[in-house]
């Protein structure tokens, strides 16, 4: 069993985990997809038995949850316990550094951080971030996995949010602040950035697509890691998460959507 051909386990929330699983399946990797329940209060992890069965024989696991943080930590610890000792554990490091995620496991050399911003279909690149103690072979295996699925990779240091999620969520935070302050409408803010700065999407429709919980988690994680007011999440984002206005996936965020 090698990390390059062996079975892959994808664990996380739809739609991101589902998209990742589909992408890797297309690339021909043997794959098990293990969804976890939506990130609402009191949500359960996959049953320990189910996770243990799914993890058996996996060469590499991709874990994609973001929020709530306790749920992610419990899931990473459960995966660490269930995976074969040699398996690589790649975790979405949107809100924590790889080094922090690795500290929740017994295999810091095998833990690799990666980051993509949903929707995956619009992204051609995956950021890969080894932690302080990550083995080079493990980071390289994750890069080859994404390369085989037709994605470019960029190696960056493992600070929370890495590059794209950190910059993009701060842009969204600023747009959300303007809505909260009542100084411009959500619709006008999106129009302004598309036409005035050539953004591919307005920041608020982008936030709805990414998921408000994801955006909030990145900002909150950055604030915890950096300890600076610069990263303070806009209170409106926090309220939206608490109210379940998580964006497109639930039909309501900054805008409303017809439910699929």
């Amino acid at each position: 069993m090698t990390t390059d051909a062996g079975p892959v386990l994808v664990v996380g929330d739809p739609p991101l985990a589902e998209e990742l699983a589909a992408l890797l399946r297309e690339a021909g990797r043997p794959l098990t997809y293990c969804p976890v329940a939506p990130a609402r209060a009191g949500a359960e992890l996959p049953e320990a038995d189910a996770l243990a069965r799914a993890a058996q024989g996996a060469a590499l696991a991709l874990e994609t949850t973001v929020w709530p943080f306790e749920r992610k930590r419990a899931l990473v610890a459960a995966l660490d316990a269930a995976l074969p000792p040699t398996a690589v554990l790649a975790s979405l490091c949107a809100a924590q550094s790889t080094s922090e995620i690795a500290s929740w496991t017994t295999r810091p050399q095998q833990v690799v951080g990666f980051s993509v911003v949903p929707p995956l279909s619009a992204s051609q690149l995956v950021e890969v971030a080894p932690g302080l103690d990550t083995a080079e072979a493990a980071a390289a295996a994750v890069e080859r996995l994404f390369a085989a699925a037709g994605r470019e990779t960029a190696r960056v240091r493992d600070d929370a949010g890495l590059v794209l999620a950190r910059i993009l969520c701060l842009i969204i935070n600023e747009a959300a602040a303007m809505v909260m302050e009542g100084v411009a409408s959500a619709r006008d803010i999106d129009t302004a950035l598309r036409l005035g700065a050539n953004y591919p999407r307005g920041p608020l429709e982008w936030a709805d697509l990414i998921g408000i919980d994801f955006v909030y988690a990145v900002l909150y994680g950055l604030q915890l890691e950096q300890g600076e007011d610069r990263y303070r999440p806009c209170p409106l984002l926090r309220k939206m998460v608490l109210a379940g206005r998580l964006g497109r996936k639930v039909g309501r965020g900054f805008f409303t959507y017809a439910q699929a």
């Binding site: 470019e152 701060l170 411009a184 803010i189 950035l193 005035g196």
Partner: protein, 283 residues
Amino acid sequence: MEQLGVIGAGTMGIGIVQVAAQQGLQVIMCEVDDARAHRALEGLRATLQRLVERGRLAPDEAAAALGRIRPTTRYADLAPVDAVIEAVPEDLELKRDVFRQVDAIVRPEALLASNTSSLSITALAAATRHPERFLGLHFFNPVPLMALVEIVRGQQTAEATIAAARQLVQRLGKTAVEVQDTPGFIVNRVARPFYNEALRLLGDGVATVETIDRVMKLGGGFRMGPFELMDLIGNDVNFAVTSQIFAGYFGDPKYRPSYLQQRLVQAGALGRKTKRGFYTYDD
């Protein structure tokens, strides 16, 4: 809305003049002396000629547009206009002085608008006797290509002024968004982290200039990376905008400028225009 006055025929001013004249408005273009007015008009003539050569504009339309522009060096000639758009350098006292004079000349129902990107509309309006007819009309560079205009509502701007401004923006063939008089308005404020956080990531050693640009383009779908864009805008201009917004919010750390960019400015590495910035350009 048939007659427009434009004060200042620099890059932004002449762009506004061009768009208005091409859209069929009569334009009175005010510059400080004949030489500048002449230079600006010659530049516009060349621009329209290039459009004609590329088949993007009919020769008679170019001639008609030029025929609608009347250059002047006297504010008194602005008396009949329906609206004035000011586009002189970003200096509060200079702009206040312009509006103090123009306010006394134009008709009471004429709109007074500033194209400022960084000054308070409320502070400019206060120089006039009728702040209720004053507003910001923030165009983007290059004006003929950028569809957006930010309509900025000052503390005392009247509802009727906003409504008339919306009609003017539509007449100019542009898309209007509305924002209260806040530092950076919408675009310059919301886009700040695109530059500022990229600089922070670079300074912290998270990734290189090339990697950050590549991630933002391929991962995020942005047309240009932050460092390529700062080099295009000019690091001096970009650093000045960030510094003004930082000051406008009284030192909120969200907007804190980067000393890395300041060093480039101090070294004269302004970007493409000096062939050196975050990247070097050989052409």
